[in-house]
């Protein structure tokens, strides 16, 4: 397969555009901060990756902003950036051939929480009219469609931590099936509200955090669970034929993808198989992968399964790829993760540097692949990205860059 990435947009705790986020990633600067403003001042989630520099007023039309939630605001901003970078004059195209394939794990909660307060304090008839539409996990897809008039085949996905990558994979497949000529694909998530953070905390997978130490240990002996983050990452995809017709430039090509499911979080055989399937589709051997952007999320069970799968796939290789996890910079963004790693791979190709895994110095002895612990120069040819949901859904994608 070959699907071209022609534009990208990103919002997270490290910045509002590709260059500011790249600067943080390459410089080893995490965007995590102390959380305040929850309804319960004793809320156990003390640290998160909040997109503090994101300005709704600057990024979103005020009419849309009033009736949409934060995860839709992120998606609108990142989609706009991806479309601008693509240099595609969409208004001159057949918009029924431009689809939207977004992932989101938990919907939007700002307007919903306001609705709960309105119901309890003022009565059911006083609930705001956007209670249902703003929350809905397909809202970002819907509002991007309304905002830009995109009418192609579109879908929204929910698949826990694999959500963003699953959405991009299905969006790429819609191009291969000839359903669309252009696709906006990626994910968005805004879980850092009183109710949203409580729901994630109740999974039991959040790391204990201290307000004085805004850190997220994703790999190694101090890894003790997840730290939440919010943001979006959207890429514009186009078929090579369409791109050739308009003499456009690909930022990187998706050449192999796979989705499957292990029987549970502890199992890894199907993950190994998914990596093998994506390699086979790309026509590559394991030794041709230069870099892995992994799930690496701080949960011991997840990390062990990922490490075992990587060991299985790369055990016989003389040259092993470098491995990094960027979740320590932004927090785990669930629906926006995976797509964020794709944009990070584009950054590596553009800036020639791999972002180091934060706080991973003591982890190398336990990790099968060589960990990137300091920013490292590289012009990769093939980058493997993988994501894994809590119950074992695996998503794998390979991005190839021209030599």
């Amino acid at each position: 397969m070959r699907v071209c990435i022609v534009g990208s947009g990103i919002v997270n705790a490290c910045g509002n555009n590709v260059s500011s986020v790249a600067k943080a990633f390459m410089g080893g600067h995490a965007g995590l901060s102390t959380v305040s403003g929850f309804a319960d001042p004793h809320h156990p989630v003390k640290v998160a990756g909040v997109a503090r520099s994101f300005s709704v007023a600057e990024a979103v039309n005020p009419r849309f902003a009033a009736k949409t939630d934060r995860f839709t605001h992120f998606a609108l901003a990142a989609s706009e950036a991806a479309m601008v970078q693509s240099e595609l004059d969409l208004k001159a195209q057949d918009l029924s051939r431009a689809g939207i394939w977004f992932g989101n794990n938990s919907g939007g909660w700002d307007i919903c929480e306001r609705g709960f307060r309105e119901m309890y304090l003022q009565g059911v008839e006083m609930i705001n009219p956007w209670q249902a539409t703003a929350w809905f996990p397909a809202a970002p897809q819907g509002f991007v469609s309304i905002c830009h008039g995109l009418l192609g085949t579109s879908k929204s996905f929910v698949a826990d931590r694999a959500t963003g990558l699953v959405a991009v994979i299905h969006g790429a497949r819609s191009l291969l099936r000839g359903e669309n000529d252009w696709v906006l694909a990626g994910g968005t998530e805004a879980p850092i509200t009183s109710f949203g953070a409580t729901c994630y905390y109740e999974t039991g997978e959040m790391a204990p955090t201290h307000p004085d130490r805004p850190q997220y240990h994703t790999i190694g002996p101090k890894a003790a669970g997840l730290v939440l983050g919010e943001g979006a990452a959207i890429v514009m995809l186009e078929s090579p034929q369409s791109l050739a017709r308009r003499k456009g430039r690909s930022l990187g090509d998706i050449v192999g993808v796979a989705i499957n499911t292990d029987p549970g979080a502890r199992h890894h055989r199907r993950l190994s198989h998914a990596i093998g399937s994506a390699l086979q589709q790309a026509g590559l051997g394991p030794g041709e992968i230069d870099l892995v952007f992994g799930e690496g999320n701080g949960i011991a069970t997840c990390n062990a399964a990922e490490n075992a799968a990587l060991a299985e796939v790369f055990c016989g290789e003389h040259k092993k790829p470098l491995y990094t996890s960027i979740k320590g910079y932004t927090g785990h963004m669930y629906g926006a993760a995976g797509a964020t790693e794709i944009v990070a791979a584009l950054m590596v190709a553009r800036y020639g540097k791999v972002p180091p895994t934060l706080h991973a110095e003591a982890a190398q002895a336990h990790w099968h692949l060589p960990l990137v612990c300091e920013a490292q120069s590289m012009r990769p040819r093939n980058v493997l990205i993988l994501a894994r949901a809590r119950e074992g859904v695996n998503a794998v994608l390979i991005v190839q860059f021209s030599k």
């Binding site: 039309n61 005020p62 009419r63 849309f64 902003a65 009033a66 009736k67 003022q122 008839e125 006083m126 705001n128 009219p129 956007w130 539409t133």
Partner: protein, 80 residues
Amino acid sequence: MSDAITVISKSLQELGIEASDIKPSARVQSDLRLDSTEAVQIALDLKKAFDLSIKLDFLNDPTLADLAKVVETQLSCKAV
């Protein structure tokens, strides 16, 4: 301006409509392009301000002054 039009104007501003577009002569559909959810929010703001349940009818593309008149008529009926 009447109390009703003041409440309607404030509601429209919170809906993200430019202050310069909010005039008594502005029509809700052809000028302001209000949708049904925005109409519900204006009705909720009127209910909060005047304790008045009102269904705003946009069918004939009324002006903001027309809407205010409907509200004031209902208020005067309520007072009787």
